[in-house]
Amino acid sequence: MQAERLEDGAFQVCCRMDSTAEDVRATLTDIHALLQDQEMAPPPDNNWELVVAEVLNNIVEHAYEDRAGGDILLRLVFAADRLAVEFTDFGRPMPCGTLPFGAPVNLDVSEQDLPEGGFGWFLIRSLAENLDYHHDGDRNRLTLSIPLG
């Protein structure tokens, strides 16, 4: 993990992680600790970390199909009121080459039929802005931003 203060005062963090849920978790807790240290941590009810976790978990689960050994690159730029994030992976592209719609799940069902998954892209789309995705050669690149404060 590398961190630096940019010229415009924003705080940039770059990390590389392996395609496992454990590595995603370790990376996120490291970033968390770093932000506390730098007194750069967004307020506790801001869900920037949720957005980043959902995208990373999807890369592990879908782009790399839950196989370890895949590279994931993450770049976060914390500005005063906005976080910009860039995700890069070398796994399978998004289905149809485009971002999932992320419809809300249906809760109008019996208790036994309540959904246990499929919340991810709904949460990402609810919390993030300026989503952009490109598959390019063997590389997937997703960028988005999250309002802070």
């Binding site: 970390e49 959904p115 246990e116 919340f119 949460l123």
Partner: protein
Amino acid sequence: MRLTTDHRDGVDIITVDAARIDAAVAIQFKDRMREILGNEKPRYVLDLSQVDFIDSSGLGAIVAAMKLMPRGGKLELAGLRPAVDKVFRMTRMDSIFAIHPSAEAAASA
């Protein structure tokens, strides 16, 4: 129709203290059984006050846990911190679970 209950070696024995279970007492029998078995409604409160982060996998795991509850049982939540609370509200899962401010509040509810 008298039914007596007795707990032996981890099993509840219900004894029918009667010589007949027939049309004359069938409804009474059903009512008494409902009283006895109806007490079997476990209530669990999941205290999340130490949890400051939950993702959609964690949310899905809590839904899965709720489905494990015996029929009629309840899994309630307590002590949701802001980021966790927001995930429940955004996904409308706050309409599925009873949510208490704290485990203490849940216990006295």
